[in-house]
């Protein structure tokens, strides 16, 4: 008898369990954020989800724009997939009012696109410190004001704004909202049907009292995203995320917290990593479904 070992990517370690087949009920809430296989077009990502049994897809605006919104809506619907989120809006922090108005208008369009795609939420990346600006509290205030200004349109189109707190490694250049606590401070005065938060394990795993903050987020968790903190940290900070199980995050624990807070939506795997991007897309989906059913799904 010949046994060919299945290997995980990008670690190269032997798979610890069999790959769930399409239709496996354990995959019923698993979503592929399409950035995880960066080389795939929207069409490839849809085909990948169908082939590997993932019922949902987190889409990015750029690949949607490449095929056109109308065709994108049709492709997703024809494949029978849910769109779990649209990435991304936000970038609220410019000190220039005119730039902020342009961003507001673009965020309204992003909400419209998300509504057309049937996505429950639009992920908001807050934006960093603009240029030479060193006034972090002021930039944070602009981010909060930017979210608030979008509430009426979010209610009109029925898409939730999902504030993504970002790991402090990105506070200067990408996201000035650094903790789940801060994101909830922004969200709480606003209607829950219009404004929620993203719980992304990579961003919040280190947060003191993350358990209490996830519990506090009950009714506000718009998206649960999973990916790993790995060491040594890869050289490009933007591509420093890992495959679940290859690093330091306690996925069973955080997933239990998210579940206890009442979250019943899709779970997106979103990994930005040069080694993952260099691997074969189908091998990435095989690995992530195995890791998901090992580390995440039993705790939902």
């Amino acid at each position: 008898m010949t046994v060919t070992a299945t290997l995980d990517v990008p670690s190269g370690a032997p798979a610890r369990l069999a790959t769930p087949a399409p239709g496996d009920p354990r995959l019923s809430r698993l979503s592929l954020n399409q950035k995880t296989v960066d080389s795939w077009s929207l069409s490839d990502a849809i085909a990948g989800c169908v082939a590997h049994g993932l019922p949902a897809l987190g889409v990015w605006r750029e690949p949607v724009a490449r095929v056109g919104l109308t065709d994108a809506v049709r492709m997703v619907r024809d494949a029978g997939l849910r769109v779990s989120s649209v990435c991304r809006g936000g970038f609220f922090t410019s000190a220039d009012p005119e730039t902020r108005r342009e961003r507001h208008d673009d965020n309204r369009r992003a909400l419209d696109e998300a509504a057309e795609l049937g996505a429950p939420c639009l992920v908001l990346v807050p934006g960093g410190l603009p240029g030479d600006d060193r006034d972090l509290p002021a930039a944070r205030s602009r981010a909060a004001a930017g979210v608030e200004a979008l509430v009426p349109h979010a209610l009109d189109v029925g898409v939730r704004l999902a504030i993504e707190p970002m790991h402090p490694i990105f506070a200067a250049d990408r996201g000035v909202v650094s903790t789940l606590r801060q994101a909830l401070d922004i969200a709480e005065p606003l209607p829950a049907e219009a404004v929620g938060v993203v719980v992304d394990t990579f961003h919040v795993w280190w947060e003191p009292e993350v358990e209490e903050q996830i519990a506090r987020a009950a009714g506000r968790i718009a998206s649960y995203q999973v990916c790993e903190w790995i060491t040594p940290l890869p050289p490009d900070a933007l591509l420093s995320r890992g495959m679940m199980g290859d690093g330091h995050i306690d996925f069973p624990h955080l997933t239990s917290c998210v579940s206890a807070a009442g979250y019943r939506g899709d779970v997106e795997v979103e990994i930005f990593n040069a080694d993952v991007w260099a691997a074969d897309g189908d091998a990435v989906l095989d690995t992530l479904t195995r890791r998901y059913v090992e580390l995440v799904e039993p705790h939902l």
Copy 2:
């Protein structure tokens, strides 16, 4: 007339003001953490401080051990310098009790060395998640217990334990205490003369409500350290700190907060950065004294 422009290192930008001469009263609280000029021996660092008019030095245990503690004490005293801190103790988080006992004993020795050197504090790096351990709350509890166990000896020798909250980029592999708020939660039940905190701009600049936490730290600030958050982040996370003024941190604002909290001790410049380390040590000291009198000293 020929004018030779003085250039800052490592930026290469023209200096924005004249280099303060030794004896300049603006330098009366400036300390060189010797890691900032990594190629210098203890003897070189002492000579550098004297030549550039810095009255204090933050020493590391390894270069002290290289010359021997007795000689190190004599060298510092003969040069008329203060030792502003000793780096470093800590690393409390091993899951193995025997390793933790060894660490405790070594930390006691570090306190003894700091006392001999006349340093007011021993900087404590908490330690990361050991090996495959993913239980961050438990590692944090071990860090808190490790600090508490050192209190009697710290009181005996008259050296303060200085808990260093570390940027969350280091939560997995170096420091599980991630915020000033957390460090103060550990310190507050313990006597203030035995346990304080380090306010290091690189580690805490992004912290939500950092202003409130610095105010809360009144009477607990054992050391104020300055260095910069720069983007793009250098490839090696451990060497990602920059020269003050080259990045995103609001030094006047944070320094004002530290001063308002009553801190009257030395201000250490501690920069780990490959470009700074590659520059001429005297040029580094010239630049850092200029940046210090521009951005920090007026706000003390």
